[in-house]
């Protein structure tokens, strides 16, 4: 099933928009070899959503499209304004190549990919893009994209201390809410915010069930499908995602008892894995390890915490959103390293995981810069740790495999 999906995806790419631009010459997803032939019809909605997205049938909606980056941008506010949020984070070698025509080679691959997509006209149906000031490349991305599309720059600052910054964040989110309402001439308030929060909270509820199921048995929903679901959530209608993910969970949990995972279970932290750049999960799984949990901004960081509403006033709701999206953020751009370390250690202990893989996508320096501190902290707790730095190309899969197999051998000895 997964192989069939990838064939469809490749066919779409080769015939599709990128191909017309003459920029299809390397598809990183080709490196995926651990895929299963097993049928999982529940995943079809997600596969089709990706195919549709690649063919620019972004969503089946009349709602205006609002692009955004990073988990600190509150999807709930976009949804409350009856707009369709699309997370634009992209790690696709096709688009990085296109992006290098307008940006330097040695910068963040996400920025390059996004530039490639915008400058090629892929996102011409979008009304506006919300760019957060979370890291320097994103800040400059706002300026790089401004000749092509309207930009809203949302800068929460880099201090993640809620008590110090609650008022500032509330103002920034309120300004954003007011801006969207005015820009799209839409009247929204408390009621619409509550409805949007209910949708994302429902998603959190389903995601938590999937996450916890995979910590016990990662094979129940394998890593490929798990990250496909995460990626599809970037652009799928949230209600459709919730219904489809619930189905996947129900099917997987029903089969749970029949499956076993004899491989060491690892936590994947660091740079987010975004389709089609699945090289890292492919090599990890082929090396005999199982990704049983992750701490990434695209999945755990975005979905795990609900919006906790204390008071159902507009102000109370907006504060609850800042608490979830900024104070609760695990983005390394913010001052929250201690929180990240504690989260890794707690997750490993809570789910009885065997080790931690910390993934650095080359040129994403904010993740890389904290590697040594995390390594030391985990060592003190006797948590086996390996950090890996790689890029979007496929040439180093042999080297990566040696590292992951050695890590597996180490974990197997330790677990005896």
């Amino acid at each position: 099933m997964q192989k069939k999906f990838l064939d469809r995806y490749r066919e779409t790419i080769f015939k599709g928009f990128a191909s017309n631009r003459g920029i299809v010459n390397n598809i990183s997803s080709e490196s995926i070899e651990y895929l299963q032939e097993t049928e999982n019809p529940c995943m079809e909605t997600f596969y089709q959503a990706i195919i549709d997205f690649e063919t620019k049938k972004f969503v089946d909606t009349e709602k205006p499209l609002v692009g955004y980056f990073c988990s600190i941008v509150p999807e709930e506010i976009i949804i409350a304004c009856s707009l369709h949020p699309v997370r634009l984070c992209c790690e696709d070698q096709i688009w990085t190549q296109a992006g290098e025509e307008v940006s330097p080679g040695d910068i963040c691959p996400v920025v390059k990919s996004v530039c490639g997509k915008f400058y090629s006209g892929f996102y011409d149906k979008f009304e506006i893009v919300v760019v957060p000031g979370t890291c320097d490349p994103k800040t400059k991305l706002a300026e790089m994209l401004s000749p092509l599309i309207d930009i809203y720059f949302l800068d929460p600052g880099r201090d993640a201390d809620y008590l110090k910054n609650a008022d500032i964040w509330e103002r920034k989110y309120r300004d954003f809410f007011d801006f969207l309402k005015k820009r799209f001439n839409y009247s929204a308030g408390r009621k619409e915010l509550i409805s949007a929060c209910q949708k994302t909270n429902k998603r959190t509820e389903i995601f938590r069930k999937i996450y916890q199921l995979r910590t016990k048995n990662p094979d129940a929903i394998n890593s490929f499908d798990y990250y496909i679901m995460i990626y599809a959530s970037f652009f799928m209608d949230i209600d459709l995602w919730n219904i489809s993910a619930e189905k996947v969970y129900k099917e997987a949990s029903a089969k749970e008892d029949k499956r076993t995972c004899g491989r060491p279970k690892v936590l994947l932290a660091g740079t987010p894995v975004i389709f089609p750049n699945f090289k890292i999960i492919d090599v990890i799984e082929k090396s005999g390890l199982s990704i049983a949990a992750d701490i990434q901004c695209t999945s755990f960081g975005r979905f795990y915490n609900p919006v906790e509403i204390d008071e159902e006033t507009e102000s109370g709701l907006i504060r609850a959103l800042t608490l979830k999206n900024i104070a609760g953020s695990i983005c390394p751009c913010l001052l929250n390293l201690e929180k990240m370390i504690n989260l890794i250690i707690d997750t490993v202990k809570k789910y009885n995981l065997d080790g931690v893989i910390y993934y650095n996508l080359r040129l994403c320096q904010v993740f890389d810069i904290q590697t040594a501190i995390i390594r030391q902290a985990l060592k003190q707790e006797n948590v086996p740790f390996i950090s890996i730095k790689t890029d979007l190309s496929k040439e180093d899969t042999g080297q990566l495999k040696t590292r992951f197999e050695a890590f597996r051998e180490m974990l197997e000895i330790h677990s005896k």
């Binding site: 080359r362 040594a372 390594r375 060592k379 086996p384 740790f385 390996i386 890996i388 730095k389 790689t390 890029d391 040439e395 180093d396 042999g398 080297q399 040696t402 590292r403 197999e405 050695a406 051998e409 180490m410 000895i413 330790h414």
Partner: protein, 251 residues
Amino acid sequence: MKAGIDIGSVMTKCVVVRDTQPVSMTMSRSGPMPEKIAENILMEALKNAGIEFSQLEKIVSTGYGRHIFSSAHKTVTEISAAAKAAFHLSGQKACLIIDIGGQDTKTIEVDRDGEVVDFLMNDKCAAGTGRFLEMMASVLETDIYGLGQLALKATKPVVINATCSVFAESEVVSLIAHNEKKENIAAGILNAIASRISTMINHFKRESPIVFCGGGAIIPGLKECIEKVSQRNIQILPNPQFVVAFGAALS
């Protein structure tokens, strides 16, 4: 009798052991057909030891080509194999291994039970690996052994700033163009790699003795360079190029 075969990116090595003693060692460049080379050197090693193929109880392959050697009964990574051998060769004591191979440089922490507890390797970039040294030696029109010999005669080693092999090569070419003595450039190259290794060493506990293996260990003066930069004593393991193959045979 057991055999360990280390199919590396540059050299393929074979060690045949009786109990835990090496009885025969052979080596050849890996080349474009590493499996064929591996078979050849295994046969040669058996011949040198005067034993038949059928007398082998087990063949264990390791190194980059570990999965392509179909005659192997088992594969292990070069990290586990190095740990096995180093623990055996250093008298069953905890140690920190430096292994400079063709494509990878590794530092491996082995505990008092002989188990790998942590390891660090270079990333995709070749800087700090045997490949880097080969590239630099080639610019100086010598091989890695000659590079070490040149470095020993240096009077005033230059400082190589680049951490990237490609940039370092440009820097070396530029130094040659400025009539810098080859000896001083060679010493600068060894210092650059020693500095990288030293950084890796410092990630680990200071109490464990350091042992050195891999092709990098045969370069004259490199051990001393690393000792000087890291301020630590280092012991080169016997037959350093064969250590990983030996470890595979013990696995």
